[in-house]
């Protein structure tokens, strides 16, 4: 591999993308619009229902509190107690009630928790002991951002490599390059690196811009998050190479890229939690890089997860990247 050839192709591709103002603007504006739209839609007091997790409700089934209107009582298993307490910390649950231990957990900064405490005390729950927890509220937009950033990377990687290389093939750019000493590895590496750094630059810009505008939750290490997104972008770009390997028509490429991106967009947990979906769909979701990007990034940003905690996601992304890259390079044809 000759670095001079690699750098030339890399520079040409960078110029092409950076000078295409409309495409560049769309890559930045699209995720911003989504995040700001959801931030706006889920801000305020539109939710008029309280959510209480209840452990072993049957132990105190006659408590009149359970008959209160406008409260959703969500059964929680004993094994999920720690997770449920975390949800109270993040305001995802307004209260957690353990009917056997006669205890309740509430967030000391939650107005809903305060109201529910008063209702509980007036509805036969005087004997329940209070356990205070502390933690910032996790808004829907906080939960959404890690996945939306990943989703934007997905579109940019798949279409920015897959679609562009197919266009090069169709209009003869690849044929012309084939006639030079440039080899496939040099060409494809340049495409991957060009798109990778552009994605990371754009994602970083969107991340900073969104944080300035809506100050979302970020509890973990920035370095770990960067690692997740780099590996995620790499796996997506490599996936784009597979589409780019042989396809000759842009229409076909568009169809294939949509076929890959739409299931990922809806089944990777970007918009809603996969909990509650059929177990097979949850398993299927694990074959998508976007699922691992979203899970790992969400873990870092919302829970402050360490590198070891997200290791399974990182390993999955690495393995996928290698498989996709090998397939993309092996299948690649100039014409």
């Amino acid at each position: 591999m000759r670095w001079q050839r690699f750098v030339s192709i890399l520079r040409a591709r960078d110029r092409e993308f950076l000078r295409d103002r409309s495409a560049l603007a769309w890559n930045i504006i699209f995720p911003l619009l989504i995040i700001l739209g959801f931030a706006f839609a889920f801000t305020g007091d539109q939710v008029n229902q309280y959510k209480i997790g209840v452990i072993e409700q049957h132990e105190d089934a006659l408590l009149t509190f359970y008959t209160t209107d406008y409260i959703q009582f969500i059964p929680i298993e004993e094994s999920e107690k720690v997770l449920a307490i975390d949800k109270v910390k993040r305001h995802q649950l307004d209260m957690l009630l353990d009917a056997r231990l006669k205890r309740y957990w509430m967030n000391d900064s939650s107005p809903s928790g305060y109201m529910l405490e008063k209702v509980l005390a007036g509805s036969g729950g005087e004997a329940y002991q209070k356990q205070l927890v502390q933690g910032e509220q996790i808004r829907y937009v906080d939960w959404l951002i890690p996945g939306v950033l990943g989703m934007n990377m997905m579109f940019s990687a798949l279409f920015g490599v897959g679609y562009v290389v197919v266009r090069y093939r169709k209009n003869g750019v690849l044929k012309r390059l084939k006639a030079t000493p440039l080899n496939a590895l040099e060409f494809l590496s340049a495409q991957v690196v060009s798109r990778l750094w552009l994605i990371m630059a754009i994602t970083s810009g969107v991340f900073i811009g969104c944080n300035l505008l809506i100050n979302f939750a970020m509890h973990g290490s920035y370095l770990n998050l960067f690692l997740v997104y780099v590996l995620g972008a790499f796996s997506m770009v490599s996936m784009g190479l597979i589409v780019a390997a042989r396809v000759k028509s842009e229409e076909m490429a568009g169809g294939l890229l949509n076929m890959l991106s739409w299931p990922m967009m809806f089944l990777s947990g970007v918009w809603f939690s996969l909990e509650g979906l059929h177990p097979w769909i949850q398993k299927l979701a694990l074959v998508f890089p976007l699922t691992h990007i979203t899970q790992a990034a969400r873990g870092i940003m919302l829970d402050g997860a360490s590198l070891s905690a997200i290791l399974p996601n990182l390993v999955a992304l690495l393995v996928m990247s290698i498989i996709f890259l090998l397939l993309g390079v092996l299948l690649f044809r100039w014409e």
């Binding site: 050839r5 192709i9 040409a12 090069y168 003869g172 044929k175 006639a179 000493p181 014409e335």
Partner: protein, 299 residues
């Protein structure tokens, strides 16, 4: 002296179509070789195999006695029939991009000067006119200081002035003693530029040699052209019926092929045919192709 390119029994088939069927020839160093033929004759497929873009089903191509390899890629300049350049890249950047892909390169300023690109170096390649674009593509084919240059129908679609300008550029390249393989279906282009020509049809070579040799080998006559009129057609028909001459119609003219102009003119005068508008022309490669294949070069 070893030919720069040797082509031996090339075959290429696309599904049921035999695009190239047993083509063999040699290209001596420093000449301009023209590949002529109508659309679909197999000349572009042949050239793309020579360029290393397509792989022959059978046969061999040797560059300086060796199979095509890295050395060939480094020293071949290629201008395809239709090539796109990357979007949002200027002419200067395109030239630099391609120059960086080769180990040995030409003086870029000289290439720019030779191809007269100075006025639009900073222009986006997407905004170039047809003639400018072809000059840029020719310059790209020259950035690696090639020994052999392939030009595949380089003037197709250009207006006459742009075509003549382009011919002058090719003549300049010829003066640098570079070998050129030119495909074209304009025989005036081939006649002006090529030292040797190969005529292909149905994937086979049907004639090869210098333009002059080919014409003199196949023809020893000239063509008398007379403007078309109804009465003239009747008279010429009578003369043809008497076996005194044969004629054909070419657009707005009747054409009579003859090796004895004096005798034919005398015959026409005796038949009271007006010689107003009469022209005499020499045989062309168009005639040769018609003679060999029964169809015109641009069909």
């Amino acid at each position: 002296m070893l030919p720069i390119l040797q082509v031996k029994q090339l075959h290429k088939q696309f599904k049921r179509l035999k695009a190239v069927n047993g083509v063999s020839f040699e290209v001596p160093e420093g000449i301009c070789l023209g590949l002529l033929g109508p659309n679909g004759a197999g000349k572009t497929t042949t050239v793309e195999m020579l360029e290393g873009i397509k792989t022959p089903d059978k046969g061999a191509i040797l560059y300086r006695g060796k199979p095509l390899g890295d050395e060939f890629k480094n020293k071949a300049g290629i201008m395809f029939q239709s090539t796109a350049l990357q979007d949002f890249i200027t002419v200067q950047e395109s030239l630099e991009l391609f120059q960086c892909l080769y180990p040995d390169v030409s003086d870029l300023q000289q290439v720019i000067q030779d191809c007269a690109l100075g006025d639009f170096l900073d222009q986006d390649t997407a905004s170039l006119s047809g003639g400018q674009r072809q000059r840029v593509l020719l310059a790209i084919a020259m950035v690696n200081d090639p020994d052999i240059i392939f030009l595949d129908e380089p003037t197709t679609g250009l207006d006459p002035q742009a075509r003549h300008n382009f011919w002058r550029l090719i003549e300049k390249i010829k003066q640098q003693n570079k070998t050129i393989v030119l495909t074209t279906h304009y025989m005036d282009e081939a006649y002006r530029l090529c030292d040797e020509i190969i005529i292909m049809d149905h994937g086979k070579i049907i004639a090869e040699g210098t333009p002059g040799d080919l014409l003199s080998k196949h023809f020893n006559d000239v063509v008398i052209q007379i403007p078309v009129s109804v009465s003239l057609e009747t008279i010429l028909g009578l003369l043809e019926g008497q076996g005194k001459l044969s004629f054909s119609r070419n657009q707005d003219r009747f054409e009579i092929c003859t090796s004895d102009v004096n005798q034919t003119v005398k015959l026409l005068l005796e038949a009271n045919i007006s010689l107003s508008g009469l022209q005499i022309r020499e045989r062309t490669l168009d005639d040769l192709f018609l003679e060999l294949t029964g169809k015109g070069l641009r069909q």
